[in-house]
C-alpha cells in the first residue's frame, strides 16, 4: 500500500510510522549498498566488511563498483537504483577528473541530488589523545547538500567569459534550516550559527538568511546568530570553541567542514552523513579520495569505521554501533597505534586488528559520550510543518 492514497492526516502518520522503522529484509538482516569508490576507498570498505563480520553485524553489503574513468553514467545510475532499493549506503569518494569536459558531472554530486540527500552532517569533536592546536572543539556542521554553487549550471556566453550559476531556493533553505534547529534541539545544543556572505550576495545568501531567521523564530530556546564566512574562517582558527551548530549553503559548508576536520586532527578522524527524507548515505566527512596513499596500507580507518557506526545507528543496531565505536575510539585515544596522519607509524591493518581485539576485549572505562549527535538526527519523522515546506513546488 502506498502512502499516496491515504487521506492527508493519516498519510502523515503513516509516513512517519513507516520511515521510523528501518527497512529490514529476510530474517532481520539488512542489506546496505556499499560503494568502495576510488583511492583508499576499496581498502577501507574491505576493513568495514571484515569488522562487521567479526562483530557478527546483521548487515549484508551489496557492493557496487563505479568506474570513474568511464564517461557513461550507467554505473552511477545502478548505484542510485541500489540505494533506492536498500535505502542506506556506505560510500567512498568517487574521483572526478577536473580536466574532463563539463558534460561529465561529478558522480558524488549526481548521487546526492538524485537521492535528494539534502543535509550533510559532520560532527567535529576534539578527541583526547589526539594532539591538536585547539582543544574542546565540539561543532556540528550542517551543510545544504543539493543546491547552491554545486548546481553544475555553467555556460560560456561569449568566448573567454564563463558564467556559473549559484542557485538558492526558499524551499531548500527552509528545509536545511529546520534540520539544523531540530538537530540542535535534539542534542541539547544552545546555539545555531548561520554562515553566509549576504553583504555581497544580497539576494541569494540574503534569502538563505531570511529562511534561517524564519525557522529560528520557531525555536525560541535556541540562540540564533549569523556570521560572514570570511570572519567565520578567522574565528575558527582562533577560537573554535565558540561554535556549536553551524548551518550554511553548499560551498561554505565545504570550506568550514574541512577547516573543522583539520582542527580536530585531520580527514582520517571525522565521519560524515548525508541524510534525505528517504535515504541516508554515510562516508568519510571530508570526502577525500586519498589517491597518493592508496594501497599503501597507511590510510586512517577511523573515519570510515565511525561512518559505519553512524550507519548502524541509522539502522537502529545501536548495540553493534556502540561496540565498534568504543573500540575505535579507545584505539585512537589510548593506544600508541596511530597511522602516519596522526604522527604514528602503524599500518591500517595493524590499527584495524587492534580495534578488532578491542571489540573482543572491550575497555570498560571509556564512556560512550562521543558522537551522540548522529543517532537522533535522522529526519525520520515528518512534522506537519516540514511536510508543508517539502511539498511546495521546487522549480
Amino acid at each position: 500500500m502506498t502512502a499516496r492514497f491515504l487521506p492527508g492526516s493519516l498519510r502523515r502518520l503513516f509516513c512517519s510510522w513507516s520511515s521510523r522503522l528501518p527497512p529490514a529484509q529476510y530474517g532481520g538482516r539488512h542489506t546496505v549498498t556499499l560503494i568502495p569508490g576510488d583511492g583508499i576507498g576499496p581498502e577501507l570498505a574491505q576493513h568495514v566488511q571484515d569488522m562487521f563480520r567479526i562483530c557478527c553485524v546483521p548487515v549484508d553489503f551489496e557492493v557496487i563498483d563505479i568506474d570513474s574513468t568511464k564517461a557513461s553514467e550507467v554505473d552511477i545510475n545502478n548505484a542510485i537504483i541500489a540505494i533506492k532499493r536498500n535505502r542506506v549506503a556506505l560510500k567512498g569518494n568517487i574521483e572526478t577528473n577536473h580536466d574532463s569536459p563539463p558534460s561529465y558531472k561529478s558522480r558524488n554530486c549526481l548521487l546526492r541530488t538524485a537521492l535528494d540527500l539534502y543535509a550533510n552532517v559532520m560532527h567535529c569533536q576534539s578527541l583526547p589523545g589526539v594532539r591538536t592546536r585547539h582543544e574542546n572543539i565540539n561543532i556540528t556542521i550542517i551543510r545544504e547538500n543539493t543546491e547552491g554553487e554545486y548546481s553544475s549550471l555553467e555556460h560560456e556566453s561569449v568566448p573567454g567569459v564563463v558564467e556559473c550559476l549559484k542557485i538558492i531556493t526558499r524551499t531548500k533553505s527552509l528545509r536545511i534550516a529546520d534540520y539544523a534547529f531540530r538537530t540542535a534541539r535534539e542534542n541539547g545544543r544552545g546555539r545555531v550559527t548561520a554562515v553566509h556572505k549576504a553583504n555581497i550576495m544580497k539576494l541569494s545568501d540574503g534569502l538563505f538568511l531570511e529562511c534561517c531567521k524564519e525557522v529560528a523564530s520557531g525555536y525560541p530556546e535556541i540562540t540564533f546568530d549569523t556570521m560572514i564566512v570570511d570572519n567565520t574562517a578567522m574565528q575558527l582558527v582562533s577560537r573554535p570553541q565558540q561554535f556549536e551548530v553551524m548551518v550554511m549553503p553548499n560551498l561554505y559548508g565545504n570550506v568550514v567542514s574541512n577547516v573543522c576536520a583539520g582542527l580536530v586532527g585531520g580527514p582520517g578522524l571525522v565521519p560524515g552523513a548525508n541524510y534525505g527524507k528517504e535515504y541516508a548515505v554515510f562516508e568519510m566527512g571530508t570526502r577525500n579520495t586519498g589517491k597518493d596513499i592508496a594501497k599503501h596500507d597507511t590510510a586512517n580507518p577511523t573515519a570510515m569505521l565511525l561512518a559505519s557506526c553512524l550507519l548502524l545507528d541509522h539502522l537502529r543496531l545501536h548495540h553493534y554501533a556502540s561496540t565498534i565505536r568504543r573500540a575505535v575510539l579507545s584505539t585512537v585515544t589510548e593506544t600508541q597505534m596511530l597511522t602516519p596522519d596522526l604522527g604514528g607509524h602503524s599500518s591500517t591493518s595493524e590499527v584495524v586488528q587492534c580495534i578488532m581485539n578491542a571489540v573482543q576485549n572491550p575497555t570498560k572505562h571509556l564512556k560512550d559520550r562521543y558522537c551522540a549527535v548522529s543517532c537522533d538526527s535522522r529526519p525520520d519523522y515528518i512534522s506537519p510543518n516540514e511536510n508543508k515546506h517539502i511539498t511546495s513546488a521546487n522549480p
Partner: protein
C-alpha cells in the same frame, strides 16, 4: 623623493596614519606624503565617484596608503572600498601572512602569500530572482582577468624570491569556470619555469592549512576563495589587526591598506594598534624598491612586539598607541645608529 597619496580614513584611521608618518620620519624614508580624502561625492551624470583631487593625486603618484574607511548605512553609494577598486581597477589583492614572533598564536612559522583576484568571480554582484523563492547568483570568470591575476602571481613570486605558486580551485565541481581559471594559470606557468606550479582543491587547502600552514608559499585564486582563505590566513597569524594588505591595479597603481575596521569605539583615545597599517606601509616600501628601509622598520616593529614592554591592548598589553609608536621610532633610530 617619491610621493605617496595618504588616505587616513575614518575612526582610528587618522591616529594610525600619524603613527606611520612618525615612524617613517624616524627611519628617514624618502617619501613625501600627500593627504587626501576619498569620501564619495556625486559627479556629473549622477554617478558616485571619489573626489577628483584624490584621483588626480593617485594617478600621479601611483602609490597609495589607506586607513580603514567606513561606509555609512543608507548612504546611497556603494562601499568605499568597492568604489576605489572600480576607480583604479584594483585587480589583485595581496596579503603576505607571516607569523609575528612575540605575538603568539597556535600557529608558528606561517610564511605565505595569498593573491586574490579582486574584480570578478562570485562577487560580480549579478543576481536575479527567477521566480518567487528561487534566486540565482552569477559567478563570472573571464580569460582576461584570470590571465592577469596569474601573471601577477608569478611575477610577485619571482620578484620576492618565492619558490612556488599554488592555484586554488574547485574545478571538479565548477568545471567550466574554475577550469578556465586553472587553464590560464597553467598557461602562464609555462613562462615561469623557475617557479614551481601546483594545483589544489579549495577544501584540501583549507584542510591542510589548519594542520600545517608551512607547506604553502604563494596561493592564487578567484575572488570568493581568496576572500575566505586570506581571512583564514590572517586568523593564523593573529587577526586583521596585524595583517598587511596591498591592492594592485592596472596602470601601475598600487594601494596598500589596513583591512581592519574603523573601530569607532576607541577612535581618538590613543589606544589603536597601528601594526596593520605599518606592515602595509612596509609592503609598500618593498613595492617601491626601498628594501633597506622596509627591513629596518619591520625589524623594529617585530622587536617591539617580541619585547612585550610596549604593547597595545589588542596585543595583550596596556601601552598607548603613541607609546608603541615611540618605541618603534626609538628602535629604528637605534638600528640606524648601529650601521
Amino acid at each position: 623623493m617619491q610621493t605617496v597619496t595618504l588616505i587616513p580614513g575614518d575612526g582610528i584611521g587618522p591616529e594610525i596614519s600619524a603613527a606611520v608618518i612618525k615612524i617613517f620620519e624616524a627611519a628617514k624614508v624618502p617619501v613625501k606624503w600627500e593627504e587626501r580624502n576619498v569620501t564619495a561625492i556625486k559627479g556629473p551624470g549622477g554617478r558616485w565617484m571619489i573626489p577628483p583631487d584624490a584621483k588626480e593625486s593617485m594617478d600621479r603618484s601611483k602609490i597609495g596608503l589607506k586607513g580603514p574607511l567606513k561606509t555609512p548605512i543608507a548612504a546611497g553609494h556603494p562601499s568605499m572600498n568597492l568604489l576605489l577598486r572600480k576607480t583604479f581597477d584594483l585587480y589583485a589583492n595581496v596579503r603576505p601572512c607571516i607569523s609575528i614572533e612575540g605575538y603568539k598564536t597556535p600557529y608558528t612559522d606561517v610564511d605565505l602569500v595569498t593573491i586574490r583576484e579582486n574584480t570578478e568571480g562570485e562577487y560580480s554582484g549579478i543576481e536575479h530572482v527567477i521566480v518567487d523563492g528561487v534566486v540565482q547568483s552569477i559567478k563570472l570568470i573571464t580569460e582576461k582577468a584570470s590571465k592577469r591575476i596569474a601573471e601577477y602571481a608569478f611575477e610577485y613570486a619571482r620578484n620576492n624570491q618565492r619558490n612556488s605558486v599554488t592555484a586554488v580551485h574547485k574545478a571538479n565541481i565548477m568545471r567550466m569556470s574554475d577550469g578556465l581559471f586553472l587553464r590560464k594559470c597553467r598557461e602562464v606557468a609555462e613562462n615561469f619555469k623557475d617557479i614551481k606550479f601546483t594545483e589544489m582543491y579549495l577544501d584540501t587547502v583549507c584542510l591542510n592549512m589548519v594542520q600545517d600552514p608551512t607547506q604553502f608559499d604563494v596561493l592564487v585564486m578567484p575572488n570568493l576563495y581568496g576572500d575566505i582563505l586570506s581571512d583564514l590566513c590572517a586568523g593564523l597569524i593573529g587577526g586583521l589587526g596585524v595583517t598587511p594588505s596591498g591592492n594592485i591595479g592596472a596602470n601601475g597603481v598600487a594601494i596598500f591598506e589596513s583591512v581592519h575596521g574603523t573601530a569607532p569605539d576607541i577612535a581618538g583615545l590613543d589606544l589603536a594598534n597601528p601594526t596593520a597599517l605599518l606592515l602595509s606601509a612596509v609592503m609598500m616600501l618593498r613595492h617601491m624598491g626601498l628594501h633597506p628601509h622596509a627591513d629596518k622598520i619591520q625589524t623594529a616593529c617585530f622587536d617591539t612586539i617580541r619585547d612585550k614592554k610596549f604593547l597595545t591592548k589588542d596585543l595583550g598589553g596596556n601601552a598607548k598607541c603613541s607609546e608603541f609608536t615611540s618605541e618603534i621610532c626609538r628602535r629604528v633610530q637605534d638600528l640606524d645608529g648601529g650601521h
